[in-house]
């Protein structure tokens, strides 16, 4: 904790960044924006921090204050690489204060982040418990799966906290807000809720780092990670896609290969 605070303070004092985005040292570990060196004493990090702070990097308010530094556990480091690969981060304008568990790993630029991930986290995999839940659901009958999601989606209030929490959801105009024609009903009812969550997850395929921030942000407790995980698994198995490692990676959807599997095509 001390090392993290000192590193953040140093960046601000030396004016290498104008803002440090971190977690605050209080209950729930909310996001905290340190603009002055003396603010840095309020930074903290531990395993209870579930927000993905890379989501702020797409917001205009933060854009106006570049360069910035972000406190980043491994999944957030991967989000930074995804955003780099998608040309969303102006080069040299974002530094990562890498953390893991209780330890502070150092300050890294975009190239350093990719290097650190390759060296130390190349084997990051989804939690086995999550994959088991996906598998368990797939073993049920289609009607049971439908009933499961019917019960879950009926709780959705369409607050879009899941979208706001995700670093990958940076479109200035989301598909759900397009209304001529309106593709997704915005009423917080069955089919609109279903289409919203399915499309939100699909738009993250090949880009999601399974950080868990969307599910953690959902006030209604929807199991959104099931949707993300099934896509992540398929992207890995079919296309060897591991988003968030290669800053030069082409987007999975948006590129193609003549050898892609199509055994299911008739």
């Amino acid at each position: 904790m001390k090392a993290l605070r000192e590193a953040a303070e140093k960046l601000l004092r030396e004016k290498r960044v104008s803002l440090v985005i971190g977690y605050e040292d209080r209950k729930g570990r909310p996001a905290f924006f340190a603009a002055k060196p003396e603010d840095c004493g309020r930074l903290a990090y531990d395993a209870s921090c579930r927000q993905n702070l890379a989501a702020y990097l797409g917001k205009p308010e933060i854009r106006a204050r570049l360069p910035v530094a972000v406190v980043a556990p491994p999944a957030v480091l991967r989000s930074i690489v995804v955003l780099t690969a998608e040309s969303q981060l102006p080069p040299g304008q974002v530094l990562a204060l890498a953390v893991d568990g209780d330890s502070f790993l150092g300050t890294f630029d975009a190239a350093g982040v990719a290097e650190l991930l390759r060296a130390k986290y190349s084997t990051l995999a989804p939690e086995p418990a999550l994959l088991e839940r996906v598998q368990g659901l797939l073993q049920k009958s289609p009607a049971e799966r439908a009933a499961f999601w019917e019960a879950e989606f009926s709780k959705c209030t369409r607050c879009y906290a899941c979208r706001a929490a995700c670093p990958g959801c940076y479109c200035s105009r989301c598909i759900v807000e397009k209304n001529a024609p309106q593709w997704i009903s915005t009423a917080a009812l069955g089919h609109g809720n279903y289409t919203w969550s399915v499309m939100r997850a699909f738009h993250q395929s090949g880009r999601c780092t399974l950080c868990g921030a969307c599910e953690a942000a959902c006030p209604q407790g929807l199991p959104l990670m099931l949707l993300n995980a099934v896509l992540d698994r398929e992207a890995l198995e079919e296309f060897g896609s591991r988003p968030g490692y290669d800053p030069e990676a082409k987007p999975l959807i948006g590129s193609w290969s003549a050898d892609d599997d199509h055994s299911y095509m008739r």
């Binding site: 799966r145 009926s154 069955g190 289409t195 499309m199 949707l227 896509l231 992207a235 003549a258 299911y264």
Partner: protein, 153 residues
């Protein structure tokens, strides 16, 4: 005198699946056209929606079809290498590979979501495909009434 018994209860209406097909203009639609001009007989359960290319078929279209009453959806276009726009079908294929797994998790599986390559010369393949898909959906039955993706009537 013999008493003849006549049943007054109407026979239960057989389930006629409604299948929405999203097809590209250059291959599958032309293939369907050929099936027609060749006077091939095939099931009349498919409603065809023509788009320029499979690359134009957004997964949202599929959800919209299920939302509004389809029992199954078919997506069909040019064979790999034959796309009129060179690579629309390659782009589409990646999308479908992922999307079908996502839909399967929510209860829309292989018996309701079909993909095929049908060229402009394959009128017979198109007719056979429609018959086969219709038979499979007939077997699968009506799209589950409690599915969250269906618009409440």
């Amino acid at each position: 005198m013999m008493k003849t018994e006549t049943s007054t209860a109407p026979a239960p209406a057989a389930f006629e699946p409604r299948i929405t097909a999203f097809v590209c203009n250059w291959c599958t639609y032309a293939g369907a056209d050929l099936a027609g001009t060749s006077r091939l007989q095939y099931a009349s359960n498919m409603r065809i929606i023509k788009l320029p290319c499979t690359g134009r078929i957004d997964p949202l279209f599929v959800l919209k079809a299920f939302e509004n009453g389809a029992d199954a959806v078919l997506v069909s276009g040019c064979h790999p290498g034959d796309c009129h726009y060179t690579s629309g079908n390659y782009h589409a294929r990646r999308r479908w590979t992922l999307f079908r797994k996502l839909l399967a998790l929510t209860g829309i599986g292989d018996d309701r979501l079909f993909f095929s390559w049908v060229s402009a010369a394959e009128g017979q393949k198109f007719a056979d495909l429609v018959n086969d898909v219709t038979a499979k959906v007939r077997k699968a039955g009506p799209f589950c009434a409690v599915h969250p993706g269906r618009r409440a009537s």
